[in-house]
Assembly symmetry: C2
Amino acid sequence: MLTFQNFKKRTAPTLESVCRDLIRENKERISVKKEEVAVRNMTRILEAVFALNREKGFGAMSLRDLSRRSGLSMGALYSCFPGKEELRSMILRRGAAYTREVILDQAPACATPAERLETAIETHLYLSESLRPWFYFAYMEASSLPRRERRRAKEDELATEQIFLDILLEGVAGGSFHCADVELTAALIKAVLQDWYLKRWKYKRKGITVEGYARFVVEFVLSRLTGNA
Amino acid sequence: MLTFQNFKKRTAPTLESVCRDLIRENKERISVKKEEVAVRNMTRILEAVFALNREKGFGAMSLRDLSRRSGLSMGALYSCFPGKEELRSMILRRGAAYTREVILDQAPACATPAERLETAIETHLYLSESLRPWFYFAYMEASSLPRRERRRAKEDELATEQIFLDILLEGVAGGSFHCADVELTAALIKAVLQDWYLKRWKYKRKGITVEGYARFVVEFVLSRLTGNA
DNA sequence: GTCTATATACCGATAGAC
DNA sequence: GTCTATCGGTATATAGAC
């Protein structure tokens, strides 16, 4: 079992570190040239974006709201990103890429399908817990994209689901899993993992920790896959 | 097993019929006095709202967008609802009330817990399938509400979950279900049901019908509850 | 690199003709 | 009941001082 502490120690997914990747990825579209300045400002910007996204949604958020909340002037904002729509695209693109990197970096090939499934579930939950506002933003804003980008967002979602599907298929092929519909099972796992960061208020109210939730999901799914018939 | 056809025949959840309830519920806040006119216009308004909600989100939708899409002028819009925020509130309030009415109206008390659980899952899925854009809207907009209304939206969500929780508790008490954590199991069911209307593009692509999805969810959950250990 | 001031377009909401 | 015209205010984005 992977603990949340060990995950954080190994992967260290802080807002600032992902912001740094975002800055480097979009260097030519950002007029601020000193990386340290850009990272510091972008971190404050994203903190404000995510807070305002929770309160009123990105579409209803104005750049004046963002300026006030982040403490940066309108001019400073525009020196860090080229426009509101582009800011959203940058955030979504980097988030999807980072998720893919982390999830693919985790599963040791030598483990059994059951162990791999457990690790994949834990990793996904711990990552979304570490960057919960980012994940929440990505989920809520993915459908408000221009056609071309929305298409890619859907492919990103299917790619994550595919990771679970592959593990299920291996387990079924090797005889350790029994499952009539692996595709729907993979979709179910994905939906349950997303509920953790979409409805955190609910689990917080119930007093559930992320490790407790992980244990529940792993046990629920594995008992279905390895149980009778 | 409840079929989608039988559900629709018995409950008949059309956009127009729910709009009629919405009009009656908010009669004093709507200046159009002929009910037939108000229902016809409100139906067109909600069709446009839901379409624009999918494309850009309610917050980013302007009333001019809405006017263009619905074919009604700005003045006609304001004769059907008192303002943009109030329109959102009216939609969310009626949707939550209607869902509660339909779900509570369905479970025959004589059935076993397993049958009641099956019926509750099917009813929820069939209702969200019939009014999918409404459910999608309610999910996406519930978090962008003023404090007081958001609080009630959360209670509505918990009330639906409570229906599943009650069935699980009865089953456990009667010995027909085995379940270590009924609260998390109820939350899991809810999350999986929501995924159906939130990610329909995914299931459509896979060729899954609402009845196929219902069968999968019922089988998955029941096998866990009535299986070993 | 960060600020204030401003250009231009559009917002939600309303008044008054028909 | 529905329309067009228009109100005051605010939106995104930019220009130019420092």
